[in-house]
Amino acid sequence: MSAYLARRLAYAVLTFFGITIVTFTLIHSVPGDPVTFYIGKSGTHGVPPAVIQAIRHEYHLDESLVAQYGWWLRGIFTLDFGPSVIDHRPAMDRILEKLPNTFALNFIAFAFAALAGIPIGLWSASRSGHLFERGSSVVFFLLYSLPSFWVALLLMQFFAVRHAWLPLFGMTSDDYLLMTTAGRIADRIKHMVLPSLALTYAQLAFYARFTKSALTEVIHQDFITTARAKGVSGPAVLWRHAFRNALLPLVTLLGLTIPYLLSGSVIIETMFQWDGVGNLYLQSLLSRDYPTVLALTVVTAVVTLFASVLSDVLYAIADPRVRVEGKR
């Protein structure tokens, strides 16, 4: 186990440096002067040379590439990505204060999708080939192809515009501060329903398919055939022999899901004006606030890396074969 753990962690460290190199390359392959990165403009027109020189010095752009990469690494390790172009507060602070909002939304979407998707996947694998199951798997496959922003648009149109059952966007109502505690909680929940619904459905289809293929793979293995040959009844084979093994790969779901959820957050948070990191990312891109953009790119990649290492380790604990085979 410790050998596997050591190898996995060593890979993770390498991948981390890969992430820093990719982001560093991204900064330096952008057309034009990297100075424009830090003044929030598309060019250096109209900016006094003295100011440019000062910025160049402040961000170490007057040093060699290797030295600049060193400064970039140092910034990442100390979580110091420089001040935001918008309000001159540290980019990292702005991210940290929005992270809980994104987490709340994604956690609900993750929980809903897992609670509904996994049982559906198990069910459809156990009835594989039946007419009704084939029909439902097509439906789930089609769900996968629905653009999330279109679904969000239709949800807004139906629930918020036509029927005014739920708020159209935002995280709280205008009169939030005047509400009682119970009223505030209800208000927050109401604002969460549509965005979390829009984030959930695609995940749901993904989990159902993932679970189904995991169980199908187990069903085709020799020990299931052996159990059947020994005369174990159909349902007992499924419940006692197959399900337990099929649940193993599900621990990797967390690692697989986080990047998808974060990607979805950019669209859904922007549409619902949800004050999270996805929304922040798009607004920073549009206003050329590159310190925030770079900070978010690195932070989300590292979070994804962490989740994938965690789920690999959990998988290795749950399934000893992984450690021996050295999967991945």
């Binding site: 890979y11 890969g18 990719v22 089609l142 653009p147 239709l154 149109q157």
Partner: protein, 324 residues
């Protein structure tokens, strides 16, 4: 020994054909591709055929390779045949802004009075161009890395695996949006951004397939006859590993259509005034109170096209590996 049992392209096609859903999806893909290819002849203000003093003329055919800037003089003469949708995608008509679907505009008009159906037809052109180019880049890059990783194994395989791991660490949309915005949104930057982020699937498919076939007799024979590595990989192995890579290409096209429309929806996509499905939806968001037709039709266009590519890819994969 998958391919040996399942046999040739003909066998794959025979199994694929058995699925009614797969055939419907394939026909739909062909129809959308046809619409995309012939968009200037389907939706155009200029007539298809005109009879003039100097004989027959075909004014809309000139738009086939991109519409010309500015106002164009139509030749003098009688219109013989109008385009099926007699509106160009960028024909502004402020007198008919946000008109609900009616006889003149079957799918209604947008906030500048442009015909939604015409924009959808031409939007298919933009979407499919971006998606196909992105899929080709993903396929080329992915096949290359997958092939050398599968053929050499060892440290080459290790390096490619780390590379894939690094790419997959970035949330997909973050990376695509970042690249597109940093390098200025255009068809090319979107294609490149999608290509460099989605090649990993093709690489994994090709790697597995090459590993499986590299020790088979025909590969041994090529090696025995003294062929160089590059020749064995690209002439002998890769063509035989193409089938699974094409499965992943179908999925990349689907992902690319979804992503391109998301980018256009967010305003960092193909620049205006190019008609895009996502672009129409972003106008729909502004007029969500009443302009339902702006939200409905482009959404259906994206959904059905993406679904068709996904279904074709999925059934193609099943046809390759009947046991799976």
């Amino acid at each position: 020994m998958k391919l040996q049992e399942s046999g040739s392209w003909r066998d794959i096609w025979r199994r694929f054909r058995r699925s009614a859903i797969a055939m419907i999806a394939l026909v739909y893909v062909v129809v959308v591709a046809f619409i995309a290819l012939f968009a200037p002849l389907i939706a155009n203000t200029k007539p298809l055929i005109m009879r003039t003093a100097s004989g027959l003329q075909f004014p809309s055919a000139g738009d086939f390779f991109g519409e010309k800037e500015g106002i164009e003089q139509l030749p003098q003469g009688d219109v013989v045949l109008r385009a099926p949708i007699p509106h160009s995608p960028n024909e502004v008509d402020v007198a008919h802004r946000l008109n609900a679907p009616e006889h003149e505009h079957h799918f209604g008009t947008d906030d500048l009075g442009r015909d939604v159906l015409a924009r959808l037809v031409h939007g298919a052109r933009v979407s499919l161009t971006v998606a196909l180019l992105a899929a080709v880049i993903a396929l080329l890059v992915g096949s290359f890395f997958g092939a050398i990783a599968g053929f050499y194994g060892g440290w080459v395989d290790w390096v490619v695996s780390r590379l894939i791991e690094i790419v997959l660490c970035f949330p997909f949309l973050f990376l695509v949006l970042g690249i597109v915005a940093l390098f200025r949104p255009s068809v090319y930057t979107i294609v490149i951004a999608l290509g460099v982020t989605t090649w990993t699937d093709a690489a994994r498919y090709v790697r597995g397939e090459i590993m499986r076939i590299r020790e088979l007799d025909f590969a041994q024979a090529a090696r025995a006859s003294g062929a160089r590595d590059a020749r064995i990989i690209f002439r002998h192995l890769l063509p035989n590993a193409m089938a699974p890579a094409l499965v992943s290409a179908n999925f990349s096209v689907a992902t690319a259509i979804l992503t391109e429309s998301a980018l256009s929806f967010l305003g960092i996509g193909v620049p205006l005034p190019a008609p895009t499905w996502g672009g129409i939806l972003s106008v729909a968001e502004l007029h969500i109170e009443y302009a339902w037709w702006l939200a409905l039709y482009p959404g259906i266009a994206i959904f059905t096209t993406v679904a068709a590519f996904n279904v074709v890819g999925d059934r193609f994969r099943e046809a390759l590996d009947p046991r799976g």
